[in-house]
Amino acid sequence: MSLGYYFLLPVIFSFLTPYFKKLGSFTLRGSSILLSFILFVQSIAYTTMKLPQISQFSIKPPLGIAFVLDGYSLLFLLIFTFSAVIVSFYMLWYFKVNPKRDEARFYVFFNMLIAGSIGMILSCDIFNLYIFFEIVGICSYTLSAYNKDKLGLESGIKYLIIGSIASIFIVFAIMLIYLQIGTVNLGLIAQRFHEIDPKISVLIVLMLFIGFGTKAELFPMNFWAPDIYQGSISSVNGLFSSVVAKAYLFVFFHLFYLFGLSSKYMLFVMVIGAITFLVSEFTALNQTNVKRLFAYSTLGQLGILFMALSTNSSETVSGALFHLTSHSISKLLIFLALGILIHHLKSTKISIFGDFKSRFLTIIFAIGFLSILGIPPFSGFVGKILILKGFALSHNYSAIAFILLVSIVEAVYFFRLTAMMLDKKGTKRVVHVGFINYILLCVLAALIVIFGLFPSLLIHYTDLAANALINPTDYLKFALGVGL
Amino acid sequence: MIFQIILLIMLAYVVGFIYFGLYRNILARIQGRYGPTIYQSFYDSIKLFSKKNTVNYGWMFYLGPIIMATGAVLTLILVPVFSDSDFLRSATSQGNLFVLLYLMVLGPLGNALAVGTGGNPFGVMGVVRGLTRLIGLELPFYIAVVGLIIAANSSDIVHIIDMQKTGGLNIINHPLLFIAAMISMVGFFGESPFDIPGAPQEVYSGPRTEFSGKFLALLMSQGSLFAFAKLVLIIDLFLGGADSLWMLVLKTLAIFVTIIFIGVVYGRYKVEQAVDFLMKIPTLIALLGLARVIWFG
């Protein structure tokens, strides 16, 4: 299958949605599940093939448009398609318990969101990247406003305004690049980026940094992020946390290493990541709204990832990618379980954690929390220790101390929630999870445990990804069309 | 050995009671009285053994004095009485100074258990005061003992005695430690100013409020045994032990009279005052002595 189908299929399904709707909700839901399954299975198939893979459209790159799949994008492809499968199944439950919601509207944008995210990680020219960026943007604005109430619309508008700012910066950067180099192909830009006048190059880098950093929720640009999480439904939160934010992060570091910025800007990104981590975790302490709480937690984890991914050492980056995968799974788990809780208790206050009675959900949340905190034998531990090990190997002890100290702050609120769940006092409402969710949450929890106990299953791919990210010669060859 | 033990117990019994008689006499003379005969305590104990118990609060009440007496006897046989003879040496070589330090508390524990069983709050109050006072009392004493142990590099009492034969008496070598130990001893003998646990005036007789008949007799007897043991310990540690019975009596008497004279002069401290005092001056004296041991010899 050509890589192009990764984009085409969801778009086709998305455009056919009104037709599916006429055929009944079963077809509508089924089509989405089918789509995500196809994409996921295809992604798994790619794990056995030789990488990088390329699909070109009509003209050979660097002139034509092409999709390139290397080790780095393969990891993200797996994460995104897997998340899509899980969320599409979850929506079966969601629309069953909320029968009056507009299903078609969700699926249109859901499918397009997947298409855009995958497009962002596969595209090897910067203008297409921008288009996918905008597609993801539009879909996420709409999805965050899926609840057409005051909160939902407010979050939609806020997201849209921020998105517009980010896109202006990115358009500006792309134009400057084109003016300087005269190409939009990532390979060519990467080859000739050092030729640009240093002052212009600083401007371009800053604009890309602001553009993607705003979307990837870095510190001084992330004041909007918790609002968006608060205003949207839980499954969308899960998507934001494990797909959308990760896609922007992907692009950020893809360009970061491709353009060879790591030596010059490493410290800067690391410091920004550290500040993001610190501020988010401290802010999270004071939250009373669960969605905002987990939003801050996501921001914090992104901070760690930015710290670790910018190090330019394959050990740390591999660890960071492991951590990223594990964080995606854990956050998906938490947000989906949270959706069930919010549905039953009709509140988003933090106190709902003390008000429900379900041993299953307690265990699920506990696994998610422990994994995010990096406690063995769950998958978060392996990621965290790999990151710390990487920092240790580069003798960056202050980063180790920083991560560990702030992790204690993180533990404060996660264990406060755990303690509330375990607390026996007060009246407790029984929460029925539902069969589909039971399976879904079990699968996610099992993955967390399996990756924690047998990390070599995943480390193979993260190593591949880290090497492809730091050392993009293979990618460049394909992006330039040399290898064809 | 059994014969020797019996002999030792009898000796301690007699000497202990006579000393107590002496104590009562000296006290009386200082206070301008005649006082009882010197054997009065001995008579008292014989009398009490044959008298009726007024109350019995159950088996722990029964066993408490016995534990106390056991502790006293055990202490007695582990202290070397004569420095050069083999008298009870096979028993004394089984223990050491640390064993003694802890055995000395076993007696009070038995007492405390029995008093607690008795259920008299005043008795328990006395016990608690005693234990609190112990915190202060032990501190200078421990420092003194530790100083000697480090000087001799051994916790074996016989070894400490032997050291003094060649190197001179500890009272001369380590006078500060001796002074500190003596101040503690005043407390261990229940003398003023550290006699608050007994509190003879305010709350009957403190911990012993509920005891009567044979238990009181047992307590008195073990008290005299224990007093003798403590005196012997002091002369072993500081005065080079005694090589004959006469020397033993002479040295113990000297120590005993010193303690009485100190005790008679002072008024009583409250328990916190006692501990405060003991933690300051005697402790300081002892620490100076200790510093001397560690850095100068």
Partner: protein
């Protein structure tokens, strides 16, 4: 349920016995991490210690209706501890350490009187300990390129001094937190007192020992006592390092002892006593001499036995009466006589009095201090020991002696047999260790060899031998028993009539007759007079809670301050982004 898990608890003991010291398993987690289990004499000692403790506690849990997942978590905990003590590399060690942390957390959360604050205290301190541990682990990895104990130990000598020092401090902090050194003990008391009653025994007897194991591992195996001597130099006859550590231990011991005396809750007293006893161990663990290590190991054993005994005893009483304060208990001696005797044996051991095992371990530690001429340390330990008599007496008096202070205590029955059996076994162990202190030398000697220290002399099973004096436990025990029986016989020969079973108000009470409403129990008055002693009051009125509460408050305030930034005014957010860009641009262009 109980019997199934009892069997499951026996299995690892058999397993360990089967291997008999030759266990060596490794399992490759990834290409970098290899998990390995290696049986060392030290690990075996701690493994048996923890496994047998778990077995005994499981026996006593028979009368409690506990759920399956409680037992499962407890089994997981024992498994985690087994991993810790058998670990051959730091990753395995850390995995065991963290599983221990969270499985115990979930067990503690099952208690009826736990609150969120105590749970938070427990888990945050545990995590802080774990994070300090992992920091030390990765730093040592950066030099040794391996997590293996042997490799790290070999490359430790070549590390720069400041790294060596950092590593030792980080490792020590981690294990100190687990053992509850003063200043880091904030979690200990609340957790021990609010955990399920029987689980407190595990916490105090076994889990805190994992901290001790870690200290042994670092000082003895990883760094090596010889290396410590070279690193830090010597003072008197010991090392500077040992001296510093000894002061930490002694301060812990003294402060915790005084705090223990003033507690009203039974388990809080025991918790502080546990801190104090571990203070002794920490005081001698760094000496790096034969007697120091032997004393620490011996006291580890004795403290495990005693704390298991005392906590099980107290748990039984709490389960039976429903009261957990000294001010609510009292006068149970003739209602629960067997329990009373067990507790009595326990506190005699705790106070370290001669006929029982408690003395032997203390003697060993004192010898260590004399050997190194650490006189002040020795005095500190003796002083704390003298003060500990007070809380020992409070324990036995407050629960069993005196007068009952609340209704229902007069009609109590003896506690169930399942509680008594482990207690009797432990009390026997205490008696045996007291009578045969030399037997333990054979256990210690291989460990001493492992640390390349001189072995202890062995003069027979009853004798504890040391360079500065020895004592014959068997003689003292038999003399004690003989004199006791003799005096008992003599006294009982003297016939004297006495009123038995008299009214409990029939006491000398200043010429008055106390009534039912008169408060006759002195249990909760204990320790109040200590406040009037200046030195002790200085200890008692200070608390680490002030510091940690202030820390929590400041964290909360800074969190509030930071979260103001996020009160979503999108207009401001836009302006911030634009300003941030402009600022970066000017910085970037100008540099």
């Amino acid at each position: 349920m109980n019997s199934i898990f009892l069997l499951l608890n026996i299995l690892p003991i058999l397993f360990l016995y089967q291997f008999g010291g030759d266990l060596h398993v490794s399992f490759s987690l990834t290409k970098d991490f290899t998990l390995s289990l290696i049986q060392t004499p030290l690990g075996t000692f701690f493994a048996y210690l923890s496994l047998i403790s778990f077995l005994l506690v499981t026996v006593s849990q028979k009368s409690k209706k506990l759920s399956c997942n409680y037992y499962a978590l407890q089994l997981l905990l024992s498994f985690a501890m087994l991993i810790i003590v058998l670990a051959g590399d730091f990753i395995t060690f850390f995995i065991g350490w963290e599983i221990m942390t969270w499985s115990s957390y979930f067990i503690i959360s099952k208690s009826n009187n736990i609150d969120i604050k105590s749970l938070q205290k427990y888990i945050l301190f545990s995590l802080a300990s774990a994070f300090s541990l992992i920091a030390a682990i990765v730093i040592s990895y950066s030099f040794a390129n391996s997590f293996d104990f042997a490799t790290i130990s070999a490359s430790f000598k070549s590390m720069p001094f400041d790294i060596q020092l950092t590593l030792i401090i980080l490792f020590s902090l981690s294990f100190f937190t687990k053992a509850g050194v003063i200043g880091l003990h904030y979690w200990v008391v609340d957790t021990y007192s609010k955990a399920p009653d029987l689980f407190s025994s595990i916490l105090s007897a076994v889990m805190s020992k994992m901290g001790i194991y870690g200290l042994f591992l670092i000082y003895g195996n990883i760094v090596g006592y010889q290396e410590l001597k070279i690193m830090f130099g010597t003072i008197l006859n010991g090392t500077d390092f040992g001296y510093t550590l000894a002061w930490i231990g002694v301060a812990t011991s003294i402060i915790a002892t005084f705090k223990a005396i003033t507690q009203d809750e039974v388990k809080r007293l025991l918790a502080y006593s546990s801190i104090a006893q571990l203070g002794y161990i920490i005081a001698v663990i760094g000496f790096g001499t034969t007697y120091g290590v032997a004393g620490a190991l011996y006291h580890t054993l004795i403290h495990t036995i005693i704390k298991l005994l005392l906590f099980i005893n107290v748990a039984a009483i709490i389960a039976q009466t429903g009261k957990n304060r000294f001010s609510e208990l009292g006068g149970l001696i003739y209602r629960t006589p067997v329990s009373f005797v067990m507790l009595l044996i326990g506190i005699i051991g705790l106070a370290g009095m001669p006929p029982l095992g408690g003395f032997a371990s203390k003697f060993m530690m004192y010898n260590a201090a004399i050997n190194t001429k650490f006189a002040l340390i020795l005095i500190g330990m003796l002083f704390s020991g003298a003060a500990s008599f007070l809380y020992c007496y409070k324990l036995v008096y407050g629960i069993y002696l005196g007068h009952p202070t609340s209704k229902g205590l007069e009609t109590q029955k003896e506690v169930p047999l399942s509680y008594l059996i482990p207690q009797i076994i432990l009390a026997l162990l205490l008696v045996l260790t007291g009578a045969f202190p030399g037997a333990f030398v054979k256990v210690i000697n291989p460990i001493l060899t492992q640390f390349s220290l001189k072995a202890l002399p062995y003069d027979g099973v009853g004798i504890m031998d040391s360079a500065v004096g020895n004592f014959n436990g068997l003689f003292i025990m038999s003399a004690f028993v003989a004199f006791f029986v003799l005096i008992l016989l003599l006294i009982s020969r003297i016939k004297s009539k006495a009123k038995n079973n008299i009214n409990r108000f029939d006491i000398s009470y200043c010429g008055e007759v106390p009534s039912k409403d008169t408060s006759l129990h002195y249990g909760f008055g204990f320790g109040t007079e200590l406040h009037r002693i200046k030195f002790v009051n200085a200890i008692l009125k200070r608390s680490t809670a002030t510091f940690y509460d202030a820390l929590a408050l400041q964290t909360k305030r800074s969190s509030e301050l930071l979260s103001r930034m996020y009160y979503g005014n999108i207009h401001n957010t836009m302006i911030i982004i634009l300003l941030f860009f402009s600022a970066l641009f000017f910085i970037g262009v100008n540099s």
